[in-house]
Symmetry: C2
DNA sequence: CACAGTGAGATTGTTGACAATATTGCCGGT
DNA sequence: ACCGGCAATATTGTCAACAATCTCACTGTG
């Protein structure tokens, strides 16, 4: 029963890049990756190509693969699209959520509030991801979910620096509460609006970060 | 000075699939494709993997690649997302269009009207694609444009069967005229609304086609 | 006659080696 | 000391052969 190495290696490499173990614009030397992941160059190359198609790495002819560097400007573009997609998911979730789904969402925001009160930034960030994932699952929109995953992976570095901004969670917590309230009340339009204004505030935060960075 | 075969082969294969030369669920035997495109198996495989990442073909372990079959239900999901993305592009185009851009758009709809009057279905379909591409270029939103291309490629077969529906162009022509009018008037919200209702009618047409097909 | 087992042929998955290209460090001229 | 060219090395791009797996017709048995 031989394993299926390619998806496993692809996932491992994706995780490593998302964890920041390889910096943007850093060259990904195939031999080194082979050693690290215990795979042949062919498998590695396949994995790199898949990640390239998803926008996580980029190829330069005869110069191999690098981690793609997503600029602030591009992160804003990506978030503009996320507004639309996550808005759609929120609306559909409001139409489809079962009692059990709603209970789960409420538990998540409750935990988020607790995390904020205890200043557990990392836990808050984790719960935040879980909440968005839960909404995505409830909405059951395969196409939107797939695209969102791509976009989210590309901006994970920026998401991270955002979560470190002091007071950021205090801003986003009530927004998440509003989203869950609208979904629980089965109000699609309101859920969509709440999600949109939430991500709009993310864009504003990006702009502020970008301005601060260029001042240095 | 050796050429760069991989992108060329990828494009050729994509074009062939989009042109319907390979039917959905048809197996893509690597040797045959090698012969047709004059490339080695390695290059072919790379091309197939890239197209797989873009959702045009799918792999089954030890059974190779097939043309991916996009169901009506999935085509509707995809169009739901297209509504959002193309709506965004229409709004941005309305904000950014220059005089020359507007002149080009107007020429396109004028040609479309002529094509409808002369019952040139193929030409109308071609101009339709050009119009959407022009709006995309004016909007200058790289992220949305990239995603849209993927989605469009996946539904090209359904788009085609739609264009054969009698009277379809008579429905969509005034919608296109409304979109261009809103962009020319620099009215982003109105342009977005016009584009959305246009694609809503596409979904309705899909639903009608789907119902007709299941009746057989 | 139906059906499970089997084996040949076809097709894909993987590997290692080779060729093409870029990168780096060295050397000589000015 | 500085700069441009050149050789050595490192890295990627490509290929052809091999191994693993699936497909399918054939065969022998109940």
């Amino acid at each position: 029963m031989p394993e299926d190495p390619k998806p496993a290696v692809t996932e491992a490499l994706r995780t490593a890049i998302l964890a920041g173990e390889y910096a943007p614009r850093q060259r990904l030397v195939e031999i080194d990756l082979c050693e690290r992941f215990g795979a042949s160059r062919f498998i590695l190359r396949s994995a790199l190509q898949e990640l390239a198609a998803q926008g996580l790495v980029e190829f330069q002819r005869n110069r191999g693969a690098r981690v793609r560097d997503v600029s602030f400007a591009e992160a804003i573009e990506i978030t503009e699209v996320r507004i639309l997609l996550e808005g759609l998911l929120a609306a559909r979730a409001a139409e489809r959520a079962s009692k059990a789904d709603i209970a789960m969402l409420r538990k998540l925001v409750k935990d988020m509030r607790a995390a904020v009160n205890n200043s557990e930034l990392l836990r808050y960030s984790e719960l935040n991801a879980q909440l968005h994932a839960a909404i995505r699952d409830i909405a059951a929109h395969e196409t939107a979910a797939r695209l969102l995953r791509q976009l989210r992976d590309q901006t994970v570095r920026h998401q991270f620096s955002l979560s470190l901004v002091p007071g950021r969670s205090a801003v986003s917590l009530p927004q998440h509460e509003a989203i869950v309230a609208a979904i629980s009340a089965c109000e699609p339009e309101q859920a969509e609006r709440a999600m949109r204004s939430h991500l709009h505030s993310v864009i504003e935060a990006f702009r502020a970060l970008s301005a601060a960075a260029t001042q240095l």
